[in-house]
C-alpha cells in the first residue's frame, strides 16, 4: 500500500515536471522561431517552409531595417514615449498615493471611492476622445501621456505598499522638522524601491506596447511608435488572406524575414529589462493586494 503510494507520487512528480516544462517551452518557442526565421535566407524560408535552425545566417533583413528611416525613427519615438511617459506615471502615482496612505487624512475614504469607481465605470472611447481633442492634445505626445497618467489599480497597490511603512517612522521624521514632501522623497520612496521598480516596469511595458491610443490620437506618421508600424508591416501587408482593404492600406509588402526581424525589434527591449525587474514583482507588491 505505502509502496504503491510512494511510486504514485513519484510518477506524479515526474509527470508534473515534464508537463510544466512543456508549458514553459510553449511560452518561449514562438520567440525562438521568430528569431531563427529572421536570419534565415528568404529562399530557404520559401523552399523548406519549416525552419528552426537556418542553414546559414542571413542578416539581410536587419541591414534592410537599418537602412530604412521609419523603423529606426519609430524605435526612437517609442523609447522617448516610454521614458517620459513612465516618469510622468511614477511621479503622478506616487504623489497621489502618499497622501492617500496617511490614515488620518480627512476625506480619504471618499477620494478612494472616487478612484475605485473609475475602475467599475468609464466614459469610454468617444467621450475620452472628445476631451483629448478639446484640450488640443491631438497629434502631440501628451495625448499618449496624460490620459493614462495614473492607473487606478497601480495607485491603490502603491498606496497599500506605502501604508505598510510604520506610522511611527513618519512621525519621528516629522518631529525633526521634515514636511510631507520631504517625507515622501527621503523616507517613503527609498523604502519602496522594489514597488517603484515594479510599477515602473508595468507602466513602461504599457507605454511600449500600446498602439491604439497612437492610432486614435496621432495622425502624423513621423510620430508613430514602433508598434503602429509593426501593425502596418506585419498585419496589414501579410497576405494571410484576401483582405483587399487591408492590403491597399499598406505601403509596401516587405519580405517574410523582414517581418520577423521587425517583430523581434519591437519585443527585445521588453525582454531585456524584464530579468532585471523580475525579481521584484513576485514578492511583496502583488501579494495579498487583489482587494485593494
Amino acid at each position: 500500500m505505502s509502496r504503491t503510494r510512494r511510486s504514485n507520487s513519484l510518477l506524479f512528480e515526474i509527470g508534473n515536471r515534464v508537463f510544466l516544462f512543456l508549458i514553459a517551452a510553449a511560452c518561449l518557442l514562438p520567440f525562438l522561431y521568430v528569431a531563427a526565421a529572421s536570419v534565415t535566407p528568404p529562399e530557404e524560408l520559401l523552399v523548406k517552409r519549416i525552419v528552426l535552425i537556418p542553414s546559414r545566417v542571413d542578416l539581410a533583413a536587419y541591414r534592410y531595417i537599418l537602412s530604412t528611416k521609419i523603423i529606426l525613427q519609430s524605435l526612437g519615438v517609442s523609447v522617448y514615449i516610454t521614458a517620459l511617459g513612465t516618469l510622468i506615471n511614477i511621479a503622478m502615482t506616487a504623489v497621489m498615493a502618499y497622501p492617500l496612505s496617511r490614515r488620518n487624512l480627512r476625506g480619504r475614504r471618499q477620494l478612494l471611492w472616487m478612484v475605485v469607481f473609475t475602475m467599475l465605470f468609464n466614459g469610454g472611447m468617444i467621450p475620452t476622445y472628445l476631451v483629448v481633442s478639446s484640450l488640443h492634445l491631438l497629434n502631440t505626445f501628451w495625448s499618449l501621456w496624460l490620459p493614462t497618467a495614473i492607473s487606478a489599480f497601480n495607485l491603490i497597490l502603491m498606496r497599500n505598499f506605502f501604508q505598510e511603512i510604520p506610522d511611527e517612522l513618519v512621525e519621528a521624521v516629522k518631529m525633526d522638522g521634515a514636511n510631507d514632501w520631504q517625507v515622501l522623497l527621503r523616507i517613503i520612496l527609498p523604502l519602496s524601491l522594489p514597488a517603484v521598480a515594479t510599477f515602473s516596469l508595468f507602466y513602461a511595458v504599457g507605454h511600449w506596447n500600446s498602439f491604439f491610443n497612437a492610432i486614435l490620437y496621432i495622425r502624423d506618421t513621423a510620430k508613430w511608435p514602433i508598434q503602429v508600424w509593426l501593425r502596418q508591416i506585419v498585419l496589414l501587408s501579410s497576405g494571410g488572406f484576401a483582405d483587399a482593404t487591408a492590403i491597399s492600406e499598406a505601403e509596401y509588402i516587405p519580405s517574410q524575414n523582414t517581418q520577423y526581424a521587425v517583430i523581434l525589434f519591437a519585443t527585445v527591449p521588453v525582454l531585456m529589462i524584464y530579468p532585471f525587474l523580475q525579481k521584484y514583482f513576485a514578492k511583496g507588491v502583488l501579494v495579498g493586494s487583489v482587494k485593494g
Binding site: S9, F12, N16, R17, L20, I23, C27, Y33, V34, R49, I50, M92, M96, P99, R102, N104, M114, V115, T118, L120, F121, N122, G123, G124, M125, I126, P127, Y129, L130, L146, A149, L155, D180, W208, N209, F211, F212, Q227, R231, V234, L235, G239, G240, F241, D243, T245, A246, Q256, Q259, I263, A266, T267, L271, Y274, Q278, A282, L286, V287, G288, V290
Partner: protein, 293 residues
C-alpha cells in the same frame, strides 16, 4: 492647517481623475444629443433616447450582443480555470530553482504586445509560409487557411489569451496557496488522505475566496472582450463573428463620425458591465463570500 501640504499633493491626481475619467463620464450626455463638433456640447440638440432606440432596433444589435457574449464565455470556460490549474501544479513542484525557471518562462508572454502576439500568430498561420500551415498540410498538399476561416476566429482569440495570460494569472493564486497552513497537510497525511483528497478538502477551500474575487473582477470587464486583440484580428472576412461592442463603437463613431450614436453604444455596454459586476458581487455575498466592497 496641519495637512495642507498633503492636500496640495492630491491636486494633480484629482485633476487627472476629474479631467480624464469624470469629464468623459459627463460627456456621455452626448448620447442623448445630436452632437455636432462644430456647435459643441452646449449648443447641440437634445434628442432623448433616439440613439438608444436606434441601437436596439438595429439588425446588427443582436449579433453584436451575441458575439460579445460568446467571446466572453469562451474566455470564462477555457481560459479562467487554467491559471488555477497551473498554479496548483507549480505549487506541487519540489525544487525551488526549477520552479523559478518555469515561472520566469511563463510570465514572459504577458509582457509582449498584442501586435506582436497577433503578428506571430499571423506569420505562423500564413497560408504561404506559416510553420503551422505546413505542419497541418493535408496528405494531398491542400492548404489549411485558419486565418481566413470564420469558425477559427474565436478559438484563435482564446488560444492567444491562453498563451499570453495563463502564466501571469498564476501569480495571484500562488500567493493564495503560499498562505495555506502547512500543518493542515501534515495532519491530513497522518490521517491517510491521498493527494487528491488533500486537494479537495484543504487546498481548494483555502483559495476559494481568491477564485471568487478573480471571477467577480473578470465579470467587470466581461464585455470588454480584449478590444486591442479583437481589433487586430478583425478583417473583412470574419466581421460576422468578430464585430463586438468595442470595435463597433470605433468604426461607427470615429471612422464614420457618428459621435452621439456610438457614445450611446459605449454607454449601453458600460451599464451592462456595471450591472454584471454588481450582480455577481451580490451573488457571491449571498453564498457567504466576502465580495468586492
Amino acid at each position: 492647517m496641519r495637512d495642507r501640504l498633503l492636500y496640495l499633493m492630491l491636486i494633480p491626481g484629482i485633476l487627472f481623475f476629474a479631467i480624464f475619467k469624470y469629464l468623459p463620464m459627463a460627456g456621455l450626455s452626448i448620447s442623448f444629443m445630436d452632437y455636432n463638433p462644430f456647435l459643441g456640447i452646449l449648443k447641440s440638440n437634445w434628442v432623448g433616447l433616439k440613439h438608444f432606440l436606434r441601437l436596439f432596433g438595429e439588425p446588427m444589435f443582436f449579433r453584436l450582443f451575441s458575439n460579445t457574449l460568446i467571446l466572453a464565455a469562451y474566455n470564462l470556460f477555457f481560459f479562467f480555470p487554467l491559471p488555477i490549474i497551473v498554479a496548483l501544479l507549480l505549487n506541487e513542484l519540489a525544487g525551488q530553482k526549477y520552479k523559478n525557471f518555469i515561472q520566469t518562462a511563463v510570465y514572459i508572454p504577458h509582457f509582449i504586445s498584442w501586435i506582436v502576439v497577433v503578428g506571430i500568430c499571423y506569420t505562423m498561420l500564413s497560408p504561404q509560409s506559416g510553420i503551422i500551415t505546413e505542419i497541418l498540410r493535408g496528405p494531398g498538399g491542400e492548404t489549411v487557411n485558419l486565418l481566413g476561416d470564420v469558425r477559427w476566429f474565436r478559438p484563435l482569440i482564446t488560444l492567444q489569451v491562453i498563451w499570453k495570460e495563463t502564466g501571469w494569472g498564476t501569480i495571484i493564486f500562488l500567493a493564495a496557496l503560499a498562505g495555506v497552513n502547512v500543518e493542515l497537510y501534515e495532519a491530513a497525511i497522518i490521517d491517510g488522505a491521498n493527494g487528491w483528497q488533500r486537494l479537495l478538502s484543504i487546498t481548494l477551500p483555502a483559495i476559494r475566496s481568491t477564485i471568487v474575487i478573480m471571477l467577480i473582477l473578470r465579470m467587470g470587464n466581461f464585455l470588454d472582450s480584449g478590444f486591442e486583440q479583437v481589433f487586430l484580428m478583425q478583417n473583412s472576412l470574419n466581421r460576422n463573428v468578430s464585430e463586438v461592442f468595442d470595435t463597433y463603437v470605433y468604426t461607427s463613431g470615429l471612422l464614420n463620425g457618428q459621435f452621439s450614436y456610438s457614445a450611446a453604444v459605449g454607454f449601453f455596454k458600460s451599464l451592462v458591465s456595471l450591472f454584471l459586476i454588481v450582480s455577481v458581487d451580490r451573488l457571491a455575498k449571498a453564498f457567504g463570500e466576502e465580495g468586492l466592497y
